[in-house]
Symmetry: D3
Subunit: 242 residues, 6 copies
């Protein structure tokens, strides 16, 4: 039975409980605590009234993201990247992914020469920190742009379409949705999918950790991802009272 | 009236509301969220079964601390230290202070060749992050040592005496307890005091930001600090059900 | 006509001329110059008789990859990463991708406690440097393992299956194979695919630079990639006289 | 007898011989060699005709300090910080302390948009390097400002009050003044005090290395510090022929 | 017989076969592959239309050089400097030498406020990489300046005199020209000489690896170097069809 | 008259006054203050009872050197290398030169598995800091080895021959000895020569800053250097009472 397959007892197509708490901290223009089960990430969106050098004078905005994990967000303590003096390749890869995903969701030409800084900081890790980060950052960014509208700086929130992200993978031969840590650390294939509310792909990153996977598996994984992301976007809109 | 002096309306000798929540994250041996008003810090204690090179083979343990602020824990976003590739002088000064304070609280010779890593990560800053860190880390470390007792690795929690920390300062000419950010950023004198449950000093760090301060002022500040720390240690023991 | 669409005049499903030259430099156990049109990458494979710390004593091998671009491999000179003192996020992302791809091609348990270091250095860039790197590194690694067989250190080349990589994308609305620089810098969607000789996926990394792409487009892109990779693997085997 | 207690044979309230030599090197606007017994520090003050970015256009000046130790200023050779590529936490803590102390001594609004750089380099260390640095830097800064007066750039030396610094501590149970290395490395409590000629505190930094210390001890230590600093300021003025 | 002395069988005064291939890569203004026997270096010259800060507004140009070795250009793989985060002292010494040598060859005041960046990247190392770099960079720079003349930016190539470089040394007691790796790694004295077409010295860097060398030996080495450089400059001019 | 040519009024073949003061600081095994006129360098030699990894178990010793300048040893303040987090190319070049020179003076196989660390720190710079460093380090190293003899660790000082260093150059067309800063900053040719007491060359590093120099000039410069070094070595021996 698939119910008994997953360590968590979840059905193959079941998300973990997802909770999105807005206004989690008080200083940021947008601040969200997102939970995918035991994975907890603080996503903040900060507005700065200038753009990087390569965009100066072009009349458009920019969005960029940074990602970090608290040293003891994980099972065993990791070294603090600030103390080591460099960010790992994994960290850089994730923050580039978050940045691209958010830039796909908003119209960079519709909020002036401003930069929206996304910070995703993992408080507790149990698999799926990058997909939770993207899903939470979408809401934090929306809130931050609302502040710009309230201040009269722009007339409308420059959203093109909502995006959310989820992982899918093959665990013990079965395609499953939303891998938690025990699944993630022993699965054969791991894929992160970022999708719009129209069901179009923004990012697809699939990796065969063990056996390479065939086209049929890929199709099943994409189906699962689409279902999960549809639910996540519905939740994003619900917490925003849309 | 002194009641009307402070931006928060607090009396000169009043702490902000202090909340200590244990077991805040699930992986760390000790994990505490401490709140001094709007200042919120996650303090975790992680046990590693080895010591730094300079202590190898000496049969004693070590405690060390790291400190960080989430980039948007502050009014305006700070650069992420991991991205800059170095920790600021302020960060290093604070983590050295936390480490010394905790090493004064516990008997390093009573828990074997182990290292206790303290991580204090500021989620939201409103003044007093280093004193909240020390006060919360005391509880997180106590919890971590309890785990070692439960595992049978040691027979008793190696605490010498409880320590807690508070800031005091001269705000608009009046000595006050537990400075919040509006006070901290405009006060003349700022002092951080770390004290044991016996009322003895572990650390005293006073700085005249504007006018140098005289001996009488110093005495009044130390009185205030002692009152505040007495209350904080009572709270530490209460949340630990001692 | 699609023939006139691409700046190079290539058909949508046409690879650029691919040349793989073995024994390009004399010191490395495996050394290949691979050309995808004007893109030229030196791929070397070096054998070291030890493994990283996390694998010590486990009786298995390791493969790892590094990637670099000569400062003037590109249209305008880039800063030298060694002089800047850090590798960019893009560099790290690519070298992680190369490493995972090669580890999928070979049996890490079949060549003892040795590390195979892959170095991919771009001499001239015209799009597709990462896919050329993977495709060339496969041959360089095969040659390096042949040396181990010749030395009698192992009895057979520990290959599980050949892998190669190609990019696909949507250029001016049309799915095309093997993007060159003019296409890459203005396409809507860019996907890098790493595949085995069985036609199974090792890595799929698709990014919508502009519009998000739908499922039908994704299917067409994967078809194109499979065709291209089949040709590349045939070429790899031909130059190895298999 | 307390006379026999200290390794040096000094009385508990005795400073080491202090020598301040002005014009020690020829290029700096102010250059002082200060000796506290065997501790020897070169303090230079350099004037730059601009201020850091955060002060630009505000019409005021800035003072900042850097500190270093020659690798073999100590009993065993330390690694050179320039070779390691980073300054230790201790170094940063000390240079922040020197900077704050000097900024308390001079009126930053009275010497235009200029920066005074203090460099304190320890040639030989025998305890008390930070207090010697502050005490010597006061004289070097005074000399540098004299140069500005001579050049007609300002009309008066912008001194608010002289400052000097000394360490005090509890050595074998007895409060003593001006710890040398043998005392510093084995004392229970170590306090560095920076004070003005009015006897007011600029900085107080006390640390219990072993036992926490009580209020009475603190009072005795502050008394000792005040006596020592009074003597040091008298000497500063004497060498400046004031 | 001296013919049998050298591992390569060369006469003491014989250069290795030297090949200079222009237009080796397509993006750079000047691009040369230079081979001194098995030593192969790619030398590119890139023109940037600005100068470093210290020359801004002075109406003159600048030339600077960087040097690197591919990790497996050598017998055993070296660590990649970009991955280590710093360039070695040897690398910096070589790139400073190349820069000074090229600045001696061209008239910095005759090509406007432009910077010519030289990049010398060693593909395969067999001794003499720095002298091959200088000799090849001369041609690459000449080609780059030709581009400026073609574009009408300057009226003539700002060459003062051609320069080339060669190593000489004492191998098994005999002064020899153009050391290859087996000679370089076991010779007593190693000297790199950079000379103009007039036979004047730009740089002389001689090092006694074992025994110090006397004046007579020095004279013989300088004679050999002059002969070799005369040949190299003839070759430079020949490939440039001068 | 050549006597009036040089800014200092020195004859072309005149050294500046040279003073070598031994036992300048108390902790180092060898400690020398060397003055070449206004150039003042502290040279210390520290003995460590182990060798770098590449020499472990080979039964021989090692000598290595580091060099630094105090930030205000120069006319205008330089940035502190420890604060910048890296040593300049110039610094690395100089410390490599000092290390090679000293390794030529002593027999590395005659003092066991020990490392002698040379530190040359420039207190005041007026030209010739690297040659003063080498000349002073020779004496400091000799003193350090004497300590080893005194301790009975070795039976004799492992000196092969004394070395010293001096600069020569062409100033306003005239070859001169021992360039000071005004000469060094405007001379055409600058050469640093390291020589043994037998008059043999250890290092020759000549650079044409302006015009390339011919063979006759080179010969004259080497003559001058030899005279100067002969005097320096006589002085080294005199201060060592040999």
């Amino acid at each position: 039975m698939s119910q008994t397959l997953r360590p968590s007892g979840r059905a193959p197509d079941a998300l973990r409980p997802v909770v999105i708490s807005r206004h989690f901290t008080k200083h940021a223009e947008g601040s969200v605590l997102i939970e995918f089960g035991d994975t907890r990430v603080i996503c903040t969106a900060s507005i700065e009234d200038k753009v990087p050098g390569f965009l100066k004078g072009k009349g458009q905005g920019w969005m960029t993201a940074e990602y970090g994990m608290l040293p003891r967000s994980t099972h065993t303590r990791m070294d603090r990247e600030a103390a080591k003096g460099k960010q790992s390749g994994r960290t850089q890869e994730i923050q580039r992914l978050i940045g691209r995903s958010l830039r796909a969701a908003f119209d960079l030409e519709a909020f002036g020469e401003r930069t929206l800084h996304i910070d995703c900081d993992v408080i507790q890790a149990d698999g799926g920190t990058r997909t939770a980060s993207i899903t939470g950052a979408m809401v934090a960014a929306y809130d931050a742009f609302s502040k710009l509208v309230e201040r009269g700086a722009i007339t409308a929130i420059p959203v093109k379409h909502f995006v959310a992200a989820i992982s899918v993978g093959v665990y013990q031969g079965v395609p499953v949705l939303d891998l938690d840590y025990p699944e993630d650390s022993s699965c054969d294939t791991d894929m992160n999918v970022v999708m719009t509310e129209q069901g179009h792909f923004v990012e697809v990153q699939g990796t065969a950790e063990g056996e390479a996977f065939d086209r049929a598996t890929m199709n099943r994984l994409l189906d699962l991802a689409q279902e999960g992301i549809t639910d996540l976007i519905a939740l994003q809109k619900q917490v925003l009272s849309m």
